[in-house]
Structures are given as C-alpha cells and as structure tokens.
Symmetry: C2
Amino acid sequence: MTEPRTSLTLEAPLDARAVDLHAATTIVDGLQISNWDRKTLEELRAGGISGVNATCAVWEGPADTLKAIGDWYQLAAANPDLVALATTSDEIRQAKIDNRIAVLLGFQNTSSFGDDFRMVEVFHRLGVKIAQLTYNIQNLVGGACYEPKDSGLTRFGHTIVAEMNRVGMLIDLSHVGNKTSLDAVEASVAPIAITHSNPTWFVENPRNKPDEVIRAVTGAGGVLGCCLYPLVIGGKEAVLKDFCQMVARLVNELGPGRVGLGSDCTRNWDDEFVGWLRNGRWQPEGETKATWPEWPEWFVGPEDFPRLTDGLDKAGLDEQAIRGVLGENWLNLFDDVFTGRKI
Amino acid sequence: MTEPRTSLTLEAPLDARAVDLHAATTIVDGLQISNWDRKTLEELRAGGISGVNATCAVWEGPADTLKAIGDWYQLAAANPDLVALATTSDEIRQAKIDNRIAVLLGFQNTSSFGDDFRMVEVFHRLGVKIAQLTYNIQNLVGGACYEPKDSGLTRFGHTIVAEMNRVGMLIDLSHVGNKTSLDAVEASVAPIAITHSNPTWFVENPRNKPDEVIRAVTGAGGVLGCCLYPLVIGGKEAVLKDFCQMVARLVNELGPGRVGLGSDCTRNWDDEFVGWLRNGRWQPEGETKATWPEWPEWFVGPEDFPRLTDGLDKAGLDEQAIRGVLGENWLNLFDDVFTGRKI
C-alpha cells in the first residue's frame, strides 16, 4: 500500500454508540500481511485493534521462514510498549488492557514446513499459531484457489492436518481450493478458519467461498473472517454499507459466533512485493508487472476499523453480535483450537 | 540390497550369439538408484553396461541435491579409469570404447527444483539430464502413482515442463500419476521417457502403466524402459522368460525404437534407505519397518544384464531390436531431447 491514508472524516461522523462499543471491544484482525514496522503497528493501535494474525510466510521455505520469525522477535523486542508476540487469547485480552498489539504469527502457506511434517511442531514452538494450507497454487498439501484442478487434500496434507490438530495450530482455508477445503474440514478434528474471504454470493471471485465451503467450516465450529481486500469486495468502488450488510446476513445465517473480520491489510509495501505474491518463484514475471489494487476510500488501513463498527451497527446487528464479529469470535476459536488435540 | 549376488551359472549357460551381441552393443540402463562406490560401478562394467541414468535425488530439496551432485563429482574424479560423468549420447558411446561407465545424473523427483523454475537450468548446467516429475506422492508439479487423487500437471508443472524442454532435460514419468503423465505428454514439445516401469497388463501395480499412458509416451517419440524391480515384475518368483516375452510384445506393438530397459537396481543400501524412499519426511515411519524386496535369482544386479540379452534373443527379437532395447533406443532419445527446444 503506497497511497496516502484517507481521513476518517470522509463520510458522516461515527455514532457515539459505535465509538464507545469499538473502544470497549477486544478487536482482532483475522489477517494482515503488512511490511511491519513501528509505524505500521501504530496504525493498528489507532484503529483500536488488540490482536492480529500477522503473516510471516507466503512462499518461504523453512529456512527463509526462520529469518522472518527472527525479524519478528527483533521487532517485538525493540517495541515492547507497542507489541507483544502472543500464543493465547488471554494474551490478546491482556494486550487490550495494556493498549498494545498482540501478534499471532501466521503462515499463508505450508511451504514453511517444506516436505517435513515435523516442522509443524517446530514452528508451533516458535510461536506460529495459524497456517493456511495452500497459497494460490497447488502445493504438497493440496489444491488452491487459482489452480484450475484441485487435487483435494493430499496424503502429506492428511499428515499435516493431523499434526496441526495435535499441536494446536489453527488451519486457515482462505486461499485454499474448495475441494481441498472440504477435505480438510472432514479430516480435521479441530475447528478450522477462513481468516480472510467473503462469500461468492457477495463477489464472485476464486478467492471467495461458495456456501458449501462456508457452511462446512462454520458448521464444524469454525469462523469466517470477512475480508476488505479490494479484489474480494468488488474493488475500490465497493460500498461500506454493502459490506456491513453482507456481514449482518452472514451472522444471521450462520449464527453470531461464526463470523469475524480479516482485513488482509497490505500496508507499507512497494510494488515488488505484490509481484512476489503473484509469481513467487513458480513462474516468470511476464510482461505485465503486478501492481497493488486501490482500496475503497472508507477502508484503506487498520485505522479505519471504527468505520466497520459503525457500519455493523447501522446494518442492524446487536451489540453482542458486533462484539463477536470484531474479535470475540476469533478469541473463542483460538481458545478452542490452541489447546491442541489428542490424535 | 544386502543379499549376496547369485552366480550367472544358475540357469542354462548363455548362447554364444547372445554373448557376442551383448559385447557388441552399447548398453544403457534407464535407471539405477544404487549407493554408488567403486565396487557398485564395477558391477555395471561386469554386466557390460556403458551408460546409466543414476538417481542422485529422490526427496531432496535444492541444497541437499547439491551435496549429492558434489559426491558424484568426487566419485568420478577418484575413479577416472572406471567412470565419467556424461551429458551426451556420444559420451556414452565413447565410454563403451573406453570400457568405462558413462553416468547421466538424474532426479526421481522435482523436489530438487524447490519452488523455483530457475533451478531447472541451474541443475542442468551441473549435469542433470533427466528428471522424473513426481515421486510417489503429490508434489508442486503434479500427481503421483501412490497418491489417491491425481491433480494433473499443475500451473508450476507447466512452467517446469517448458523449462525442461528448453534446456534439454529429459522428462521421466515412471512414478508419476496417469493423469499428470498424459498432461505432461500433451504439454511437452520434446519426447518423454518412462525410464523404469512395465505395463499394467504384465503386472497390475500403481508403479506400472496402463496402455493409454504407454501409447501416449511412445506415440510422441518417447521410450518405455522395462523394469526389473521385484514389485513391478511380480516379485522374486517372476520368470525371466515372461519378462523377455513382455519386452518382445512391447517391441512388436510399439515399434522397435520405443522400448528400453531401466533396471531400477538398488545396490549397496541398508534397510534405512528403503524407509527413506517410502516415507521421506512426509509421514511418520509407522509400525512396520520398510524392507527391501527380494529380487529373482536370475536378476539381482547389473552383472545379470547378459541374461536379458540371452532372454530377448530366445523371445524371438532380432538383433537390431535387441540392440535397440539394450541401449540404442535410449541413445537416440537422448540425442533428440538433450539438444533442447526453442520455447
């Protein structure tokens, strides 16, 4: 994200009730993939966010992931007033009290495990609490949202799901293929998340999820994190009211405990990084250079989270439901999954 | 392979005609995965073999593969009277004249490329001339023979096939899934090999190939290397005559230029290695420890190659066809593929 922030004064001022509710809630963002530094973390604090699943690997293998985790340890050590690495919901609740950001380290791929199932426990011990099974294309674990054919969950994938269940690492299906997603729900003995996607009935896109997948995930105790990334909301022309009405409909259809937010904020990157996300090392760059999409004026970064609270209030959700969406549902899911399972 | 060799005197002595034909032919083994040392290489010389596709990676990633290649450079440098690393058919023909073994470095997986298509050229420049697309289970490139669901050739797989075509690295489908195999034949602009498998009509096994795959490969100018590994010939009770009749039938059905041999010899390993082949790092070892299969008495290693020449003669193949099966068909395929293709 290189464009300048847009002021919160763009639209009508927020209701005082929404402002109070926002301030009183432990807010958790289901996923951000920003280029983290003190300034970027301060944006979260400005937005009232207390916990975030921060992506520290997308295409990286084990060795490069260790470096990314080392960077996080350094950043946390250098900014103890602002950030704390967390591995429990209680630590996120405490961060709210301390006015800090609790960071859960997360992967958007299982490439960090390489070909070795033992790496699940290794990275779990290093603080990684959430891992998406696949990122955009087929990997050793399963099919992905931009791969024309979906292998389903592979033999290695079954090993990985069982190992994640055992150690207590949350499985994320956001960029995963639909067949692999359904297989994963069936294979997993713990609830699963979609940390940052919307329903295809909201925007038809490979990154969004058909009802079958959403119902499988939430029916098994999981949570869908509604996503603000321009691609999955219909671009920069998307309307806040429509987004909040989508969330309200999901809450009504799936139940108040099953919906959260996963902004997919991509702050502080240059265009080279979006090329990396697009192509990794798996294909040549091609003639068209990848560029970041433009975000809607009402949501360009974490500081705009209060708008969502206001919008959810205006969409008719009650206070308890809004608290659930803003963070409580993630916290409950983390409490459930992070304990691990006997396999 | 830990069992002792069986003497060539087990069965009836070889026909003098077969012995002469064997000695006059440039013999190429389409694949061996032995634990190479001077003694193991001398077995090839004793068997009259001049060229071999020697596996130097199965589950290894890029860094471990570099080590394996370094080991080969050391072994070749220490035994210049016996072995030469080769990258052309002419070097194999020269090795025959010099009474040496020409070794083509080969992979049984694309794990050596990691997630980076550029590694195809890197390893090609280091002397790797043949790579199997997948080994037993799903990988980034495609589905495999022991993976219940076959993804087909993935998006990364299409990149890899194009890159192998470009640099002139032979694609091998032996452990690849059938759907991925058919996709690869369609995607490749150069002929493809099955270096070490038999038809399923000979022995029904996931490692053997249905007619559809064999005909696709050989119809596109490729070669099927008939395999001696116990699993794919029916175990240690398999009969030499049956094997040679299978080869003769394939020659008659597919044409004299389309059939070769790929013994899959596994000399000089202990049981730990077969556990590595079986489980890699992708699943726990389980309760049953993997062990090597027993080979039939008439073929326990490279020294038994003359038996095959005798058997092919007795199966009614003419001299030209036998020369093709023993090596000329591989040499012609290498000449064709190793030049590379403009993509």
